[in-house]
């Protein structure tokens, strides 16, 4: 996730959280406010109702009392009317007609006048025959008037109540007769009273509030929590009756004189106790159920408003956030891109950010880093180029140095009197060691080993100078002592660098085995004789190049046939293993003692292996040079073949050709034989080099040249893929030109130009033996 996205997300999240929190608080607050308002409204309604209830009840009661008194007057008039009429002899029929007329013309509904036994023989309703009884059971309402007959009461006023016979609400008032015991009762249909009560009292108010107002339901309860008034708006669903637990709650509220409101299923219920003002209903309660639709609607409105405002704020906030994020992230993105390019290798990149904040500082540091990186890389390039040049020059120097010492062995294959072998292993590409050998005349072989102080290029240059001077000096004749003295003088002259060289020089008379030698501060060579190994006698000569005109004593010894001399440089004895232990003279002496009978090549190869094995992983500390001179005496015949080691490279063909020519010259072989064998050898080697190897690595090819009675023999041994030239298909040499193939000619020539051809595959190597008759 990019920094820009992160910043944006963070700011947006913050905005959203803030907006929603604010909106939530506002909406919740307003909802609470609205609910409180409704609750207050409910309370007001409840109080008003409580008061109205008391007022309504009072008025109705006063009115009924007045009506009752009026009715006593009416009954009393009726009692007197009957007494007068009967005294005047008016019949019951006439009286009933008059009573009916009164009832019809006035609001008085019923007139009942009994005889002394309670039979209502005079009445305005002719079709009902009624007799009063004192029986409370039979006449729960009418029995109350019986005492008028007994004279116990003069008047009886009954509250308006439902008549048992027809459930009509009637008010009855009775008086005792004036002429004889009678019950004179008037009845008044009390609907008016109920209407009055309804139009004035609680019931009306309750119904009006419910039907006309926003109130959904009103329940009025008396102190026993019995519902005395209840009205409910006609809604889809009827409200449930209050449960016992509701009633208990309300009772508790009343006792504590608290009002309470609760929100149930989107309805607000307000419960208020009725106090002193409630009159009869004191200690009762009023439950007002109010709708919350308007609250919900208001809340929805607020939510809608909050959403619109939130949206606007969010939009604005996001725009600011995007702008801010861009401002922050653009330089970072730029930095990232630059870093990517630099990582890709483009060090020319510069960042152009001029901000005065941390990013600006980073950009400056970054540019500085790139600049330094650039410098470092330029420097590294130069260094690497210089190093490569030096390495390549060193490699060339190595090749030049190696070409300065004789390295074709055996160097004198026609000399059977001795065998000489030498090896030089520089510690670095080039070294300061030197060996050399050459014939001064037919019978005298001059040989030398030298070690220039120091290593590397300076030593190698000094070695080259020394070798050149040595060849020149030795060519002028004299004993080894004289040669060293002259060489010392030459070296001392113009030796600005103050280098020096230890030098051992000997001259072998190959006929007698006599060795004259002289030593300029070099390790004394070992004399390998029949009884053991011993160093040559020390002559005490100084290293060359130190003091001009130094004397160099001459030593002399005689090699008997089978004996050998081993010359070496201190790279052998001072070779160190990882724990800095030296190979030492003792170890060398012991090695030579065990190997003194071996051939020159063998002993040197084994010694180098032994030194390397001793050193292990420790780097070679000094140049190693070893020269072995094995004397056979004049009786020994040269029967050993000449062996040439080649690498699988085409230029090596020339070396093989040269060695063959040299071999032929030494043995006086005819040119035609040499030509044919040379050609055949060249073809075989070319084949091996071109087709013999599946890898591109370096391989060694061994060529052995030898003379057998009547023929010359050339052996070629290689570790390439199996290839038997004898099995190659014949080339048809009679085909016309257009049909001739370009391949296969080489093997064809080998077959044709040799007199014998043998092939064997042994131990992963091809061995091909070619012979040619010496006729």
């Amino acid at each position: 996730m990019t920094i820009k996205t992160q910043t944006l997300l963070m700011v947006t999240l913050l905005l959203v959280v803030t907006i929603f929190a604010t909106a939530g608080v506002v909406v919740w607050g307003s909802r609470r406010g609205l609910l409180a308002e409704s609750e207050t409204q409910g309370l007001v309604i409840a109080r008003l109702l409580a008061r109205s209830a008391a007022f309504g009840a009072q008025v109705t009661s006063d009115v009924e009392k007045a009506i009752g008194e009026q009715m006593i007057v009416e009954a009393t008039i009726a009692a007197h009317l009957v007494a007068l009429a009967e005294a005047a002899g008016v019949g019951a029929k006439e009286l009933n007609r008059r009573l009916k007329q009164i009832a019809d013309d006035t609001v008085l509904d019923e007139i009942w006048i009994t005889d002394e036994r309670g039979h209502a023989y005079l009445r305005n309703i002719t079709d009902v025959d009624f007799t009063f009884s004192p029986d409370r059971e039979r006449q729960p309402q009418a029995h109350a008037f019986w005492p008028l007959l007994t004279g116990k009461n003069k008047t009886v006023v009954q509250d308006a109540r439902q008549r048992e016979i027809d459930t009509q609400i009637f008010k009855y008032v009775g008086v005792a007769g004036v002429d004889k015991p009678r019950i004179v009762q008037v009845g008044y249909h009390a609907n008016m009273l109920r209407q009055l009560q309804q139009s004035m009292g609680l019931t009306r108010l309750v119904n009006q509030l419910v039907s006309e107002g926003s109130v959904i339901a009103i329940r009025v309860l008396d102190k026993n929590m019995i519902t005395v008034e209840y009205a409910e708006k006609l809604l889809d669903k009827k409200l449930p009756e209050p449960s016992e637990s509701n009633l208990a709650d309300w009772r508790k509220l009343v006792s504590e004189g608290r009002s309470e409101s609760s929100l149930e299923a989107s309805l607000l219920k307000v419960v208020a106790p009725i106090g002193e003002e409630g009159g009869e209903l004191k200690d009762g309660a009023i439950l007002v159920t109010l709708p919350t639709d308007h609250v919900q609607a208001a809340i929805q409105n607020r939510i809608r408003l909050a959403m619109v405002v939130s949206g606007l704020v969010l939009l604005l906030g996001s725009m600011i956030a995007i702008f801010g994020a861009n401002t922050i992230s653009r330089p970072i993105a730029e930095l990232t891109e630059m870093t990517r390019r630099i990582a890709g290798g483009d060090f020319t990149q510069r960042i152009n950010i001029r901000a005065k904040n941390e990013i600006g500082a980073l950009a400056v540091s970054f540019n500085e880093m790139t600049r330094r990186l650039n410098e470092s890389i330029e420097h590294l390039k130069e260094t690497t180029a210089a190093k490569e040049r030096i390495e390549s020059e060193l490699q060339i120097a190595h090749e030049i140095q190696m070409s300065m010492v004789p390295k074709i062995f055996p160097p004198f294959p026609d000399r059977s009197e001795f065998d000489i072998f030498a090896a030089l292993v520089p510690a670095k590409e080039v070294g300061g060691d030197l060996y050399d050998f050459f014939f001064i005349d037919d019978d005298h072989l001059c040989f030398a080993v030298a070690d220039v102080s120091g290593k590397g290029v300076p030593a190698s240059l000094f070695m080259a100078v020394t070798k050149t001077l040595f060849r020149a000096t030795a060519g002028n004749g004299g004993t080894p002592g004289e040669i060293l003295a002259r060489l010392n003088t030459d070296i001392c002259r113009d030796n600005e660098s103050c280098m020096f060289v230890t030098f051992f020089c000997g001259i072998l008379n190959i006929r007698t085995g006599q060795v004259d030698y002289s030593n300029g501060g070099h390790n004394l060579p070992y004399y390998l004789h029949r009884d053991g190994v011993s160093p040559l006698e020390s002559l005490g000569g100084r290293a060359l190049g130190l003091v001009e005109q130094s004397p160099y004593a001459a030593g002399r010894m005689v090699l008997r046939p089978g004996e050998a001399l081993l010359l070496y440089t201190d790279g052998v004895t001072e070779a160190m293993d990882l724990s800095k232990t030296l190979y030492s003279d003792e170890r060398l002496e012991q090695f030579l003692g065990n190997n003194r009978g071996a051939a020159a090549r063998q002993i040197i190869g084994d010694l180098i292996s032994d030194v390397r094995h001793f050193a292990g992983d420790a780097p070679q500390s000094d140049d190693i040079t070893i020269l072995a001179l094995h004397y056979f005496g004049t009786t020994k015949k040269m029967t050993e073949p000449v062996e040439i080691k080649l690498h699988n490279k085409l230029p090596e063909l020339a070396s093989a050709s040269q060695a063959l020519a040299e071999f032929g010259r030494q043995h006086g072989l005819p040119d035609s034989v040499l030509h044919d064998l040379n050609l055949a050898l060249g073809e075989i080697l070319t084949n091996i080099i071109f087709y013999g190897y599946t890898d591109s690595g370096e391989h060694e090819i061994t060529v052995r040249l030898s003379i057998e009675p009547g023929e010359m023999r050339v052996e070629v041994e290689d570790d390439g893929q199996p290839f038997n030239p004898l099995e190659a298909p014949e080339v048809d040499t009679t085909k016309p030109l257009e049909d001739r193939a370009v391949g296969g000619l080489g093997v064809h020539l080998v077959r044709k130009l040799t007199d014998g051809l043998e092939y064997q595959r042994h131990a992963g190597k091809n061995l091909l033996v070619m012979t040619k008759h010496l006729r």
């Binding site: 063909l653 040119d671 035609s672 050609l679 060249g682 040499t733 030109l737 080489g746 064809h748």
Partner: protein, 104 residues
């Protein structure tokens, strides 16, 4: 390593190549290149002077074969001058003298 020296001589209708050195696997590509360039022309013969060639390997023979084939296409034959006896022997052994003229 000794290089092969090839001198080119343009006669009236013939190109003569004078070669000095040994023709082996190392030097044969030079000879082949020189020969094929000489056969590129539309007409005219090509002659190869081997007086100073000590040695010719199969790689050299391949160069001669390719040149002879190229010349045959325009109705010419490759001619060799001053062939040393050993090389003549090689040419005979490989049947090359059947399609290459050896001139004294």
């Amino acid at each position: 390593m000794k290089e092969l020296e090839i001198a080119l001589e343009q006669l009236q209708s013939t190109i003569v190549l004078h070669v000095i050195g040994a023709v082996d696997s190392n030097t044969a590509p030079e000879l082949q290149q020189a020969l094929l360039r000489a056969t590129e022309g539309p007409t005219g013969g090509v002659e190869l002077d081997l007086a100073k060639v000590s040695y010719m390997s199969s790689a050299g023979l391949r160069a001669l074969l390719l040149a002879a084939k190229a010349l045959q296409k325009r109705g010419e034959r490759l001619a060799l001058l001053n062939v040393p006896p050993q090389i003549l022997n090689v040419l005979n052994l490989t049947g090359f003298t059947t399609f290459i003229d050896v001139k004294p």
